[in-house]
Symmetry: C2
Subunit: 319 residues, 2 copies
């Protein structure tokens, strides 16, 4: 029996670990379920930032400097769009735009986001399954001091500057997990679930808030482990630390542990956060201390290998 | 009282004369009504080839080698689209695509094609009015030996190769002329109407087939003149000559005269076709013989000036 793994991921941080996992898992043994609550319709196009980041990362066409968008990108469309009065706060490169156009066109013709994603990942020669968390439309809304706004407006247009007070996932109560997501959880060969080092509030929480998902995960007999996206009180990337503070929580791995308590069996924290280990273990969560900062491909593969080993260790101790 | 002119135009050939007219008419005195029956929805985007050709030509951003599309264009979007399975038979450059995206987005939000065109032409600093013939959706369908197909499929995908037997304008019976088109015909300062050297069957006929348009034109007391797109039995560009033959007509200026008989007061033919002059005049159509092949900007301006002078001559003789 081959060990299968299910990774839940947001964008840049999650995609780094997903890439590491993809390099050490054999074809067909890894499913990467990706947040779609950040998706939005912009310029009439359906844009799925987290799906694309994971897809471009695994296809080795990602812009490695930014972590999102494509390498060797050009911006001719965007530059003309500015001159004719189009919205230009969300940067869309010429190559990237091909994906948005093709995806939108297929969705409008009635294909599911899952089917479109499968076609795109196949075309990009990606060996592992990248799966949208749902085929239903959901949308992260952030209540800020400037009022409520859709996530990308907060994240990109406003540059995460406005102070936030709450987050909600619009229409999540009507969303169903995508067929491949449900199948991955029910897979008899599933050996473990990995919560990638993505923002817990806006990347992983939407996945967990799809009705039925948390229940299905809780019933699993295999380990569920998370990798902390917070190191020494700071987010590696993005607004996770700022969000923790604004939501009245301590920006630390301890808050990550509390957030996932009751779901995860293990938490991987950075060596810099080793002193927090005992406190988290006292909460009934196994802790693995390692380097979690992924600067290069070796870091990604090492963290992926450590994660799979951690899952095996937890499973072994359970038996 | 300033003389105002109304030009009816298709794509490349019409745009050349429209550019000449735009250079000799003062701002606000020229309306260029453009065929929209070639427009189609492709990749989920509303694409208006003739409007864009006229717009890019007057904005001086057109690809002067092809006559359509933009100068200094890049094809990164298209190249990626091919690799992900998107339809790629209709070439869309990166800069060009910005216009399709912005137009489609505005149309989907409820703006009329007229309003969008006005916004785009203003953004491109075009001094004259480029007006879609209608804001309603119509579509040229060509019956060919391979079956009926939409015009761009015949024209671009099939490269005009299949033999045609008939042409129809889908939904034209429900179309209304755009407000600015109606206003241009009713303009008390209108001094003449110009049928640009565009394909009579697929560029000018759709405009004339909008219910009410031909009646309004026939009631005008000002000259209506056409410039033959056929020179020495050949079309300067495009399938007009081939269409004439396949529709059982002689490919000559004589057929153009017959086609427009009852509508036009004058026809401008090329010096190469001077021998046909008397036959056409015998049909009750005034003929002006001049160079109609527009190789450079001076040719465009000269033909435009000759056209306006011809209109004045006809008007003068009427009085």
């Amino acid at each position: 029996m081959t060990a299968h793994y299910l990774a839940l991921s947001g964008g840049v941080g999650g995609a780094k670990l997903a890439l590491g996992l993809s390099k050490i898992c054999s074809q067909g043994t890894l499913s990467i379920v990706t947040n779609t609550c950040d998706d939005f319709t912009h310029l009439g196009l359906y844009i799925a930032p987290d799906l694309d980041t994971v897809m471009y990362t695994l296809a080795d066409v990602v812009n490695t400097k930014t972590g999102w968008g494509r390498a060797d990108e050009s911006w001719n469309l965007m530059n003309v769009l500015k001159t004719i009065g189009g919205e230009s706060w969300f940067l869309l490169g010429d190559k990237d735009m091909a994906v948005h156009i093709e995806r939108t066109n297929r969705l409008n013709k009635g294909e599911s986001l899952s089917a479109v994603t499968q076609a795109l990942t196949q075309a990009l020669n990606i060996e592992h399954a990248i799966v949208p968390m749902t085929d239903d439309r959901v949308q992260t809304m952030v209540t800020t001091e400037l009022g409520e706004m859709a996530f990308q407006h907060y994240f990109v247009r406003e540059g995460c500057q406005p102070k936030i007070s709450s987050i909600r996932f619009d229409d999540i109560e009507n969303a169903r997990p995508s067929p491949a997501f449900t199948a991955a959880i029910a897979d008899p060969e599933l050996a473990g679930v990995i919560l990638c080092p993505s923002n817990p509030f806006v990347s992983i929480d939407p996945i967990l808030h799809i009705p039925g998902v948390r229940d299905m995960l809780n019933k699993l007999k295999v380990p569920i482990v998370a990798i902390s996206p917070i190191v020494k009180g700071l987010a590696i990337k993005g607004p996770a630390a700022k969000m923790l503070q604004e939501l009245g929580k301590e920006a630390s791995v301890y808050s990550i542990a509390r957030h996932y308590k009751g779901l995860i069996n293990g938490l991987i924290i950075d060596t810099e956060d080793a002193p927090h280990g005992p406190t988290i273990e006292a909460m009934g969560i196994r802790v693995k201390v390692t380097n979690t900062i992924m600067k290069n491909l070796d870091d990604r593969k090492n963290l992926a290998a450590t994660t799979l080993q951690f899952i095996q260790d937890i499973q072994h101790d359970k038996l």
